[in-house]
């Protein structure tokens, strides 16, 4: 069987399973609560797996394994924050949300506040966060599917978009939940199989496995390349050991702490994650679902330790970076190697299987995001704000939800196509930063602080969002043409001298030195070509998209500034615009969130 046939068959099976689930689910989606929250009838463990499926995006599945394979320890350290985030969700957010809300994040905010104002800002924030996240997923999908199975970027984006629309449009939350569960199970299964194959030869000993990794010449060469001149006096074993030590990826500690804050507090403000807690019937089940999610997500990240280091050892960081500079192909390439390499049938089956899982991963995450945006648009903006909650029949609400899904889905495909070639790595970080700086302070304070009111929520949402987005726009994440051109000119200026030095070495009688010189010459040619490209590309442009010559802040992630600002804004806004009604309703909110009194029972089927 050819490689294409194997890939096609594996993809067809995965898509067919999810389509069948959607077909079954579609028959069950009748009411608006079925569409948004699967009628509140999802059980704790099901929801836990679905949360894992909603959360483990391609960025974490492919990205973290890739970071570990290229940068060692720092990549693994990066994964920790994604799990610790769920402690915040478990302790502070999940159960109160279940007890207070119904379909959307704004339901929680609107409980004791002016529904029109709060729903408007809540919906805008939900759509903003989801759009940043969605754009990153769509562009990632286009690039990945293109690399994985060789179809064009546009076709990949369209395929992901159409599949996601089919699931959400017909199956609503019921189908989305099951697609997420299936994806999470597939992802964990695939990872366990690969890790078993990688780890068994070492008798499941961690030091024995890592000893081979640090003893690998490919890994040592990678560390030497990362450290540059400072590695000259290091022995091979010191270079290898350095791979297990911090500092190869994260250079500025403050960035790391800032990113950590955005992860740990942002997850609790992600609308598509919060929405999952409305699908379970009780606070107890919400709690159970977070615990399940923590087991699945944490277990998966521990596995990435082996996926990443295994890929570094077997495939080699240079080979991984050659296929994709961000390391995203580390997992799939490791799977291919473990199965017997590129020429074996099993190797190609494993590659196809992992690629199909990556595809399912993206579709599942995108479905959750689209559902969250559509619910904000239909439930909050249309039903809540435009129609004031009156005179919309249950059937009309379902129709509104489906129309909103179509709009959001079409937008997602459009944005995905328009953002082709853009650097979207910072967008997921930005989504977390806005969620942590705007949504999280608002949700937390309306649940736990008596004086929180409409003024505070509106101020907090606006200030938090503007601070997070604004700081990102002036951060080093954007391209600064002046710096790019200066670097390019430096390369060109030094070209002649460097060429002369390398050419001299080229004639050396020592064969090793000559071949080394040859490589350096090729690298020099490549750098010169890139420098010329950069200068031509930017022409007379000297400023970034924001009109700045250089970044105003060195912070790559705004969290450490924008999160405290968000909290302060909610507090000041609340104290400035006192609202007696919000304080009078505090007892009700507090009793409800603690006891779950009067929570709507799940719809029976």
């Amino acid at each position: 069987m050819s490689k294409q046939t194997i890939t096609f068959l594996v993809f067809a099976v995965v898509v067919a399973i999810t389509m069948y689930v959607t077909y079954v689910a579609a028959k069950r989606v009748r009411s608006v609560s079925d569409f948004y929250t699967a009628g509140g009838g999802v059980s704790g463990w099901q929801n836990g797996w679905a949360i894992a499926g909603d959360y483990l995006s391609a960025a974490s599945f492919l990205g973290i394994a890739g970071l570990i394979s290229l940068y060692g320890y720092d990549g693994f350290m990066y994964s920790v924050g994604w799990l610790v985030a769920y402690v915040t969700v478990l302790l502070l957010i999940a159960e109160p949300c279940r007890n207070i809300g119904r379909y959307t994040l704004s339901d929680i905010l609107a409980y004791r506040n002016d529904p029109t104002k709060v729903r408007t800002v809540g919906a805008i924030s939900t759509i903003t966060v989801s759009t940043f996240y969605l754009t990153a997923q769509m562009v990632g999908a286009g690039v990945l599917v293109k690399t994985l199975i060789g179809i064009s970027y546009e076709t990949s984006v369209a395929c992901v978009g159409v599949l996601m629309l089919l699931y959400v449009l017909f199956g609503g939350m019921v189908a989305t939940t099951w697609v997420q569960i299936i994806k999470a199970v597939l992802l964990v299964t695939a990872s366990i199989i690969i890790v078993l194959l990688v780890w068994t030869p070492y008798g499941f000993s961690l030091p024995a496995f890592l000893k081979d990794v640090v003893g690998d010449a490919k890994v040592q060469a990678r560390v030497a390349a990362l450290l540059g001149d400072s590695s000259k006096n290091m022995s091979a074993s010191e270079l290898g050991q350095r791979f297990l030590e911090p500092g190869l990826y994260f250079k500025a500690p403050i960035d790391q702490i800032s990113l950590g804050m955005a992860l740990v507090f942002g997850t609790a403000g992600l609308p598509h994650i919060l929405m999952r807690f409305f699908t379970v019937p009780t606070a107890q089940q919400a709690r159970k679902s977070v615990v399940w999610a923590m087991v699945v997500i944490g277990g998966f990240y521990v596995l990435t330790l082996f996926l990443g280091f295994g890929a570094a050892h077997h495939v080699g960081p240079a080979a991984i970076a050659a296929v994709d500079a961000g390391g995203n192909m580390a997992g799939p390439l490791l799977a291919q190697f473990i199965g017997g390499g590129p020429d074996s049938m099993l190797g190609n089956f494993m590659l196809a299987f992992v690629s199909a899982v990556a595809f399912a991963t993206i579709v599942a995450v995108v479905s959750g995001l689209v559902l969250a945006s559509a619910s904000a648009m239909a439930h909050d903006l249309y039903v809540g704000v435009i129609r004031h909650g009156k005179s919309v029949t249950p059937q009309g609400q379902v129709t509104a939800a489906r129309i909103a899904t179509l709009i959001v889905g079409a937008l997602a495909i459009g944005i995905g196509l328009a953002a082709k070639g853009q650097n979207v790595a910072a967008l997921v970080g930005l989504a977390f930063a806005v969620a942590a700086s705007a949504n999280f302070p608002c949700v937390l304070l309306t649940l736990y602080w008596k004086r929180c009111n409409t003024g505070g929520i509106v101020t907090g949402m606006v200030v938090g969002t503007i601070a997070a987005v604004g700081l990102t726009l002036v951060s080093p994440n954007l391209t600064y043409p002046k710096a790019v051109k200066a670097a390019a000119h430096k390369v060109l200026d030094g070209e002649a001298a460097r060429r002369a030095a390398v050419s001299a070495a080229l004639g050396a009688s020592d064969e090793k030195a000559a071949s080394q010189a040859k490589k350096e010459l090729a690298a020099l040619d490549k750098n010169v070509a890139k420098a010329k490209d950069d200068i031509a590309k930017w022409g007379d442009t000297n400023t970034s998209f924001m009109g700045l010559q250089e970044p105003m802040t060195q912070l790559k992630n705004p969290g450490i500034i924008s999160i405290p600002l968000g909290f302060l804004a909610v507090i000041f806004g609340s104290l400035l615009f006192r609202d007696k009604r919000a304080e009078d309703m505090w007892n009700e909110v507090y009793v409800r969130q603690n006891t779950g009194l009067l929570v709507a029972p799940p719809t029976s089927h």
């Binding site: 920790v80 911090p246 950590g260 740990v264 779950g596």
Partner: protein, 116 residues
């Protein structure tokens, strides 16, 4: 769904059992939260400012930093376990008692229908 008027919320907040639930739960939750957040941020801080400590090899090539990162997973899981045990043994019972007395419709208990 019953209307919120059916329940005297203020009366419940005056109920000593609710006050005790509130007090115990708050102390427990925020305490656990503080421990988790501090323990988490020790990792990036240690990796940035205490690299010599993180580099010490303790188990073959495995160093302190790697074990510390792995311990983060263990601590997150232990926090989740401690909280859910305490909540299901303690807080849920208290909440159920309070609910049972102030309304004829007690809160739904754990049995979820599940998807077919």
């Amino acid at each position: 769904m019953a209307t919120s008027d059916a329940v005297d919320w203020d009366a419940i907040t005056r109920d000593p059992r609710f006050q005790s639930l509130h007090k115990r739960k708050s102390a427990f939750l925020w305490g656990l939260m503080a421990v988790s957040v501090i323990y988490y941020f020790l990792l990036p801080i240690g990796a940035a400012y205490f690299q010599d400590l993180f580099k010490i090899r303790v188990w073959g090539v495995v160093n302190v930093g790697l074990l510390f990162a792995l311990s983060e997973f263990a601590v997150a899981w232990i926090v989740a376990w401690i909280y859910s045990r305490k909540a299901s043994r303690d807080f849920d019972q208290l909440a159920a008692q309070i609910c049972a007395e102030c309304t004829h419709t007690p809160p739904l208990q754990a049995a979820a229908g599940g998807l077919p």
